[in-house]
Assembly symmetry: C2
Amino acid sequence: MDEKIGFIGLGIMGQPMAGHLVDAGYPLAVYDVRPEAVAVLTRSGARPMASGCEVTEWADIVITMLPDSRDVEEVYLSKGGVLDGIRPGRLLVDMSTISPQVAVKVADEAASRECAMLDAPVSGGETGARNAKLSIMVGGERQVFDRALPIFGVLGKATYCGKSGAGQVVKACNQVQVALTLIGMAEAMVLGKKAGVDRAVVLDVLSAGYAQSRVMDARGGRLVDGDFQPGFRSHLHLKDLNIIREAARAYECCLPGSALAHSLYTAMQANGWGDLDHSAVVKVIELLSNSAEGA
Amino acid sequence: MDEKIGFIGLGIMGQPMAGHLVDAGYPLAVYDVRPEAVAVLTRSGARPMASGCEVTEWADIVITMLPDSRDVEEVYLSKGGVLDGIRPGRLLVDMSTISPQVAVKVADEAASRECAMLDAPVSGGETGARNAKLSIMVGGERQVFDRALPIFGVLGKATYCGKSGAGQVVKACNQVQVALTLIGMAEAMVLGKKAGVDRAVVLDVLSAGYAQSRVMDARGGRLVDGDFQPGFRSHLHLKDLNIIREAARAYECCLPGSALAHSLYTAMQANGWGDLDHSAVVKVIELLSNSAEGA
């Protein structure tokens, strides 16, 4: 526990993650644009900092957990940011879900200042963050991954995915699969209902056979009940589908299912359903099919 | 085992199913347009018949297992077919996967002759048929379902889905979900590969998390190895996607994911991949992305 950690970004995910690191005995400094988020951690024993570069000055390892690609660029690359005046040998770990290309760009900037960087996005959501059960997908040098492994162990389970950006790529792949599984479940439910079959029957049969998925196990029953409390909010999946679009363009992948998913999650946002669980994509299929609950 | 069963359609699925009924001690008559298929069953003790109506004349319960909607219409409704001169009180069970609307039409014809009918499509494929582990989705009257339950028990596990046609509807729902899960897996794998991440890593991470599915468990490893031995042949999934299209039209469902799946499985057929496992839809995504194996 000799290494001093700086943690930037104390939102719904970052706050419990930083808390676990304090609890594990790491000396921790924190920074967030919202003072009230910083205050929660300082009450737990963390040291408050006034800027990204102040965190970097103090800490051996800097972890960031931020909403989107542009926040990561801002926090690392701007004046007063993490890389501003950074000394060689620091380890930087970005756990935000952002575009692989931005992850590579920031890592290249870090390398030019003789600092190693890992991209380490997570899945498991708020529950995973609170229970320290995150699945962490890591890109960068293998020996740098090994250095960060004890820290990842405090937050969940880490998998080495490959070179810089590979963690973000695997996270994007994960979100492709989950979106299309959800759209399959949505269309199956709407077809069943409009053809006069009880949704619970459709779910029972599909769950017991080849159509089973963890998504269906977790959300199928609530979908039948019309319960779309998040879980994982639709607007965050739309954010990820935008990342997937950018990655598909950058790597020249034609992904028609992902493109459709982007359209359907855009429709969720347009219809005011962005804060519902991402399984609520069924509401778009219902809208298209004039099959809304109660209609 | 007093009830005499007639079995029509002794293909890859029908042959082992009829065999299980003989083994269970049911008196069994069989009919198929291919005499060699009939011969296999007669060697096991079944009684060969020369036409559908001859089967109906002898049997109390008639089971059909046929390729497609038009075969079912032909076998039931044509001159010399199952319903031609049928006596009241016969039980008819169609286990083919066909359009729900055709299932309802044939059941209505049967009802007008005072015969009960069930639609009872299966999932589990050739392996399920051989091992008597089919999942059987049943539509029709509940008390008729109860009468057929001992027979279904010889072939697998049956679930009552609702009124006539409901079995076909649930089977269609199942195939919607499986197709979209497969397309998700395909797009995830192509994105991962073109972005430089080992497919096995993508599979490991996705399988361990929220993206897991039975489809992925069964076929993910073989997809990584480029092994597309069926399993369930693509052209059969295309047939099911045609049924889904017809059902979507009949029940006024807008199912954009299923429509896309139909296009992609049509591309498989067009490119000569109809006899590969349906997980080979990844080859269409590779084709679109110029990312074929070896390319």
